[in-house]
Symmetry: C2
Subunit: 374 residues, 2 copies
């Protein structure tokens, strides 16, 4: 290995924890990642947070003695954490730094009671469409075109809740039945409560450095970052996620792998429909066939290519800036064989995908796809 | 020249303009910078904003057709704009991109009525000290130790207001007398209203690319970025700004210049005392002597080394994320000989310094010093 590797990871638990400060969450995740990597200082820090107050990272890092190094705090919607990872990796590849901390922090429970609302000046904001509504319209259209049932949508949540039940740090730690999912309160038809990710608070971190070939390091074999194109509101291709396809193509190419080579995926299942169309964009199934993957067992733990063994955004939770680095942490634990009850046997290649935004007239503010390998 | 250059700059006017959206401000500055550079697309965008809503840059850039490229939005307190410039330059130096837009956006008038308050969980927040109070305590101590008069403090505002009167885009466009400044309402003793920068709204942008030696380009000969160390509250050295000194040393070294080589400075004069201690940290005067520079005429337009010919934060205004790139724009206009009535004759080297934060237990969240040269 000659590239860049993740040398250590850490996360808090994922929960509503309004009694803690965001800085305390960041401190906990960063401390675990540094201890896991066996280092006590880094040359720079890249931080992902969407609603974190100015200086949140500085507050988190002071108690760890991480001062006097550049700290760059990045907002890239739901992909903020993996954009931080991407920038950290680029800084090492270019030779600027030897050792960098990527840190994601988000406390949503003190900021939002219901769904995160779109910006009032956006087209979506003006028409009163929060994100669940936008995803729901895509889901309804997808179902109509491809003959997909409500039960097939729900199968994603059945699977991810079964995974989340095995993750001691997850927000939702109980396997849900199809009946429970479809019978949960409607949020935006056809999406019910348990088909939507929840508000939560957490932080996650990764120490990134030069790969040297030691046993515990996990290579970042490819990592691509794109922002979206203008959203053509007349298109029939409402769930195409071209940005995900393009970003994945670049990451696969850099890592010299294809989707069939991946032993597991951590992807952006903010809503059940999200996992389905994302897996199509990642190349796991042709358009319209992504909905068959969970019911067929292909993406379950024990199946050929488990998707979201952590429980995903649906069950682990989706504290925006922390999500991408929580996905990275899960991939690292899996590739090291440290994922406990939810271990994917013999995992050697993991793909992480995070998607941010898409409600500002473009089909995504930011998308990152990373290929991790041991 | 073999390094990285600023190829074009743009700014909005600096004013309270709550009727415009932050995205509109960003669009205006970016459009001017792109036109000034003669380009209509870039490979990536780095954006500085402190209180900008998620997606503000994407909204600003859509109308310019800047989509499908990585957009990284950075928060680094008052230095957000110059941190964006720094990251843009590094991305070009490393060969990642050929042409990058650095964009700063801030709309404060819709968010704050009075001073920006410190985070309640900080030591400063718990003791009720907003930033003017912190600077005022430094000013009082500085005066006591060095025998500096109120009139010497005010001389910075006299000078910068005279400069701002010559800047058609400045917030305060009237030269102020010492009497007006010292007689303006007390904010935090010894600082009066006209010794404090004002809330304003603006955006500023710079197109950054490889230097090729064309007439209009301005080389970024050095650019350094540091975050601060822990603040020793027992120290007598309350105005030392070690972070500024260390950052400037690195930038001077990269550019192979010293402070005496600079024909002009744009520095972080959020408060009169700020310009004084910053100029000491930048090497223009020994400790205690920075207060003599303005009264002696050294830093006035027409003097040997004009400081803040734009009017500085005090008169141009200080919309946080936009400030650093507005300083860069002023330096570029000066070095091209396009600064109109406030032109520094024959300027060939300009130094820009931006300081962010410092109220979270460290002596600065971020400091950037850039050396620009023609």
């Amino acid at each position: 290995m000659t590239g860049v590797a993740v040398l250590g990871v850490g996360t808090t638990r994922f929960a509503k924890q309004p009694e803690r400060t965001p800085a305390e969450l960041g401190w906990e995740a960063a401390a675990e990642a540094l201890a896991d990597a066996g280092v006590d200082r880094v040359d720079a820090v890249y931080v992902g947070t969407v609603f974190g107050a100015p200086g949140v990272a500085q507050r988190a890092l002071q108690a760890l003695g991480i001062v006097e190094v550049p700290i760059v705090t990045i907002e890239a919607a739901c992909a903020s954490g993996t954009v931080a990872l991407h920038e950290a990796r680029e800084a090492i590849l270019s030779g600027r730094y030897e050792m960098v901390l990527a840190l994601g922090i988000e406390q949503l429970s003190t900021a939002f009671a219901g769904p995160i609302e779109p910006e009032p000046s956006d087209r979506e904001g003006r028409t009163g469409l929060p994100l669940p509504g936008i995803y729901a319209m895509s889901a309804a259209r997808y179902q109509a075109v491809h003959g997909v049932t409500d039960a097939e949508l729900a199968a994603v949540a059945v699977k991810n809740s079964a995974h989340g039940a095995l993750n001691p740090r997850a927000l939702r730690r109980r396997g849900l039945t199809e009946e429970e999912i479809l019978g949960s309160p409607p949020i935006a038809d056809p999406l019910t409560l348990y088909q939507c990710c929840s508000i939560s608070d957490a932080a996650a971190a990764a120490v990134v450095g030069r790969a040297t070939g030691t046993a515990r390091e996990v290579e970042i074999a490819g990592c691509a970052f794109r922002s979206g194109g203008l959203w053509d509101q007349r298109s029939e291709h409402v769930w195409g996620l071209d940005i995900v396809r393009d970003t994945a193509t670049a990451a696969y190419e850099e890592a010299a792998v294809g989707p069939d080579d991946a032993d597991l995926f951590e992807v952006h299942d903010a809503f059940t429909i999200g996992e389905i169309v994302t897996l199509e964009a990642l190349g796991l199934a042709p358009p319209g066939e992504g909905a068959r993957l969970a019911p067929a067992g292909h993406t379950r733990l024990g199946g050929p290519q488990p998707v979201n063994p952590s429980g995903g955004l649906l069950s682990r939770g989706h504290p925006l800036g922390a999500t991408g680095l929580a996905q990275i942490a899960e991939a690292v634990w899996q590739l090291r064989g440290e994922a406990g009850e939810r271990q994917v046997d013999g995992a050697q290649v993991a793909v992480v995908e995070t998607m941010g935004g898409g409600a500002a007239g473009v089909d995504g503010n930011a998308c990152v796809v990373a290929v991790l390998r041991v």
